[in-house]
């Protein structure tokens, strides 16, 4: 395709040739682990899809306890293709968080967090936390009985955190229990506060990746790797993978549209065998491992404190792993990463089956 007038128009204003030279000069190392580079791109693509489908649904959603559930039913049953966009948004969220975890564990096991890329890890980790909160806040917006009970459990669990737990719980709920105030608060988080934070952090994350360049795994040694230009080589591969992910997402949305449970009733007992979203299952199973009381202290508080310490350690791994920052292999942190991954997978599967 050749549009000389458009090219001239751009050239006169924005140094189009300079931008093209810059895109071609960005080089990506090519090696046997380079498939992991694409997980970040997939996550970005899914984030964009979530923004688009979320914007479409926000045109019809009503954040009020009397109308929230009804508006979701209307989106699904009355709007043209409403069921499809809701299903896309649901499955997009599941895949987005799954790819975030894959990207996180890939980065951890390949030691891509090592010096000088610590802040890339930090920004990515915060993005994962925000995405999980996106999931939690979006879950309540349905205002159905299972999501209502799950939010009650999740916000109640946050309340068991020592010293600041009561504040977190009150801040999340906006009142004593999960009420209309909580719904409005979660809506504000879901459609305004979290998207702005996400956009800013994605910007920082991508900027840092561009600044530092792609990390090459330590196991490949220090010899010079073969490099390919980002544009057009890697760009086209990215595009191919995005197309496949789009296909999988649409297939899931069509074949497995998410159900809508009956409307939440704050006075009714919670439904039996209530389960949170899959990415909270490991947390729930960990809490179940602890007895109600340990040495006179609240077992739940101790469990939450231990989980918080484990997550904090995970977050600070780049600053503890001194060996890999010196360019040496650090099998200890590889094992730590494998243990974290196995624990997460095992507890999620156990939580799913129980």
């Amino acid at each position: 395709m050749n549009y000389p007038r458009l090219k001239d128009w751009l050239d006169e204003r924005y140094d189009w040739e300079g931008i093209k030279r810059l895109a071609k000069s960005k080089l990506i190392p090519e090696h046997r682990y380079d498939l992991w580079y694409y997980t970040g791109g997939i996550t970005l693509f899914l984030f964009i899809l979530q923004f688009v489908t979320g914007m479409l649904m926000s045109l019809y959603y009503v954040p009020h306890i009397d109308f929230a559930h009804k508006s979701i039913i209307e989106i699904v049953t009355k709007l043209n293709m409403g069921w499809f966009f809701r299903s896309l948004h649901h499955w997009g969220a599941q895949l987005c968080i799954a790819f975030l975890f894959i990207h996180l564990f890939g980065t951890l096991l390949l030691k891509s967090y090592r010096k000088p890329r610590e802040m890339v890890w930090v920004s990515g980790f915060i993005l994962l936390g925000i995405s999980i909160f996106f999931g939690l806040s979006g879950y309540l917006l349905l205002w159905d009985e299972s999501d209502f009970a799950a939010t009650r459990v999740a916000t109640g669990g946050a309340g068991a955190f020592p010293v600041i737990g009561w504040f977190i719980k009150a801040f999340l709920r906006g009142s004593m229990d999960v009420t209309g105030d909580t719904l409005l608060r979660f809506y504000a988080f879901h459609v305004a506060i979290l998207p702005i934070l996400t956009l800013g952090l994605i910007g920082v994350h991508i900027l840092l990746v561009q600044y530092h360049g792609m990390s090459v795994p330590l196991s490949l040694g220090t010899e010079k790797q073969k490099e390919v230009p980002f544009f057009p080589n890697v760009f086209y591969k990215d595009l191919s993978i995005w197309l496949v992910v789009m296909g999988v997402l649409v297939t899931l949305a069509v074949l497995l549209p998410p159900e809508i449970a009956p409307k939440a009733d704050p006075l009714a007992p919670p439904p039996e065998n209530i389960k949170p979203e899959w990415y909270f299952l490991f947390l729930l199973q960990t809490l179940k491992l602890f007895p109600g009381e340990i040495l006179g202290l609240n077992g739940e508080t101790i469990a939450i404190l231990l989980v918080a310490c484990a997550i904090l350690f995970f977050f600070l791994i780049p600053f503890f792993d001194k060996k890999s920052s010196r360019g040496e292999k650090s099998p200890l942190f590889t094992w730590i990463g494998v243990i974290y991954l196995l624990y997460f997978l095992t507890m999620t599967v156990v939580g799913f089956l129980s």
Binding site: V76, Y236, L243, V244, V250, T251, P257, P258
Partner: protein, 103 residues
Amino acid sequence: MRRIGIAADFMKRFLPLCYRVFVLAVSFFLTDAASSRAAEKAAEKIVVFPSTPYDSYLIYESLVVFWLFILSLLVIIRLKLREIERIQALGVEEEDRDAPLLE
């Protein structure tokens, strides 16, 4: 069968008519309540996918067409990428450093 016969005789001889009517009425109401609850539950289930066969057929057909479109695009991108790599391997795009500058 013999035991059922004995129970029937027992019912006929010893239970007064009003008691039998009462048992029948209670069992009728219980059955009715259970069936209406089941109907209520079925009514509560919200249809999250177009239920008419024509709409479902259209959606599944569109899904197949969508996948064919994706596969075609993948083939086109693959061909384009191979051509780019071939040109890059020839070194045609590289700038000739010894080329004389034209005034």
